[in-house]
Amino acid sequence: MRIITRSGPSVTWSIAVYGAAAVVGLLMTIVLISISGAPVGASLVALGQGAAGSPASIASSVVKATPLILTGLATCVTYRAGLWTVGQESQVVAGAAAAWQMSLWTTGMAPVVVIVLCVLAALAGGAALGALVAWFRTRFGISEIVSSMMLNYIVFFALAWLISGPWMASGGTASYQQTGLLERAYWLPNIVDVGKMHIGVVLALIVVIWLQVLLKRMPLGYEIRAMGFNATALSQRGVDKRRLVLTVMVISGVIAALAGVGEVFGVSHRLTGDNLSGMGFDGIIIALIGGLSPLGTLVAGLFFGALHNGSLFMNVITGVPTALVTAIQGVVLILFLIAGAVRRYRIERA
């Protein structure tokens, strides 16, 4: 028997390979659950119920998925362009923080005006941070992975200062690192009256479709994909690479910022030190599992948003730690990567 490279993908083989990966993923889940000592069957049932067992849990899953999808999309656009930034984390915070500042400036105005201005401010905040990474790269030749990592820390500490100083709540407690609660009128409106289905969910869907079309059909998307594969050839054919890097980073910043403003204005209604943390990194994983395609990211985001929500139920009902989902996410990513590689081979009898 020999293993040889396939000339083209085969649909049946692909299904078989990915199916096998899914089965292995499920088996690993079962093993992990039993390690924690919880009953496997009941835990899986709870997981499923929490993920999509009722309209409320579906809504909750979707709300959970929304920021993941957005940071995932912010990742798609940069990674497709060959820009390996890890700065989605700080872009989310920058967006939320800019929106917060705007809400302070506009207090008292009509809610629609305030919300629109806050969202715009968020976009500007995310864009600014994206532009900063682009600037470091094109002007100083600093690898985006390095500058975005450093900016993550700097933004983290800046936020810590803001919420413990200028923006600190003056409420029940004398000192705690968080802002005050956003006035109810300025919360992002809900699209349906279940849970916290705020309009950010719709925005995320719009961005998915827009990005899908952009990458597939529009000249800018064409340039983004070309830059990811061969930036030299692209720039020699008259495309300004610096501007493209800037554009891509700004787009990614803007999308990630939407996640930030959605979470703060639609879900938590105040800024704290940790309610945004981890979103950027989760988005990277979601995008990678989604194969760096906007639609794939949507599916992966919904799937893991649902799993996350399900894991809460499972924890409450059978006591399995919620970290299960993080572990499973990593395992699934690796299994899918392996499946993608195995798909390229076939076994032949000698």
């Binding site: 959970k64 004398a174 000192s175 609660l181 704290t272």
Partner: protein, 317 residues
């Protein structure tokens, strides 16, 4: 009037994990109260994973909807989440603890934990124990109920040693023992020889065996280093008991819930806090320090010592 209840079911949601002092001391106290069976109640508990933000609301809602719990005890800054649920489940009693919460009243009770009184007494001890005249404290993140104990510790030291120098640092992280060690070491290099550590790492105390005495925080961690002399202890028993009483009163007598809108905590006198045993390590510090501490404690016990509460951001002085 219904029969008096026999069973109390508490769902607990924690924010950090049982390994943290905040949650760990609470869970231990809960076990003690269960054993004590107040009102002859059989108390059962269910404890969640550490949860934050919107997840807390989902989990609380699930507990609430299950109808299997009487008290939902959110052991952190959860007032935003509870505010979403309290009116939906008016018969449930909600509890939230610590700083950062907003008072909600009604069926929501807000419990504070202050250990500034034992911290002050240990400060008195430190004021005498220090030979360098410098005492220090490293904290994770500043907050109302963190600042109070650091300030009290310094105030105690200053009360017996007005010229004392105080050093304080925050590492802005719940999770970084390595960084905590560096910040403690930096303070030790700056002359600190009595260290009030709130960062859950005592390895620097071991490293500077000859010079440094450490004070732990919230729980009695004496086994983690021979250089730990004591700690202000957080004892949640009176808080739990008080709230169980409230619940029992509501269930048995129909007294309506009237959640506190002012901060409420049990004092050291009420058993809400204490000074951890020295475990025979008195020799770590001069006898006069122990004596001064004992004297101050006696004064407190006799009601003669007023310990000030200061929640402003502590600074190095």
């Amino acid at each position: 009037q219904a029969d008096p209840p026999k069973q109390l079911r508490i769902a607990v949601i924690i924010g950090n994990g049982p390994e943290s002092a905040w949650d760990g001391t609470f869970l231990e106290a809960l076990e003690r109260v269960k054993k004590a069976k107040p009102h002859d109640l059989t108390i059962t508990t269910k404890v969640s994973d550490p949860l934050w933000g919107n997840d807390v609301e989902s989990a609380m809602r699930l507990y609430a909807q299950s109808g299997q719990f009487d008290i939902i005890w959110g052991h952190s800054t959860y007032s935003d989440q509870i505010a979403q649920l309290k009116d939906e489940f008016p018969d449930l009693m909600f509890v939230m603890t610590g700083s950062g919460n907003a008072p909600l009243g009604g069926n929501v009770y807000w419990n504070y934990k202050r250990v500034h009184e034992p911290a002050y007494l240990l400060g008195v001890l430190a004021g005498h124990a220090t030979t360098s005249g410098v005492v220090g404290s490293v904290g994770t993140l500043p907050a109302d109920d963190v600042n109070d104990e650091i300030n009290a510790f310094f105030a105690g030291a200053r009360s017996v040693n007005p010229g004392i120098v105080t050093k304080v640092a925050f590492i802005q992280s719940w999770y970084d023992p390595a960084k905590a060690a560096e910040y403690m070491n930096s303070q030790i290099a700056a002359g600190v020889d009595v260290m009030f550590s709130l960062v859950d790492n005592f390895s620097p105390c071991d490293e500077h065996k000859e010079t440094v005495v450490c004070i732990g925080n919230f729980r009695d961690d004496w086994q983690r280093s021979p250089r730990i002399l004591s700690a202000p202890l957080a004892l949640w028993d009176p808080d739990i008991e008080r709230l169980v009483d409230v619940w029992y009163d509501h269930e048995a007598n129909g007294t309506p819930y009237a959640g506190n809108t002012q901060m409420l905590w049990s004092t050291m006198a009420e058993g809400g806090a204490a000074v951890a045993s020295f475990h025979g390590r008195e020799s770590l510090v001069p006898a006069k320090a122990i004596a001064a501490f004992e004297a101050a404690k006696a004064a407190y016990d006799a009601g003669k010592l007023q310990i000030p509460l200061d929640v402003s951001l502590p600074v190095s002085k």
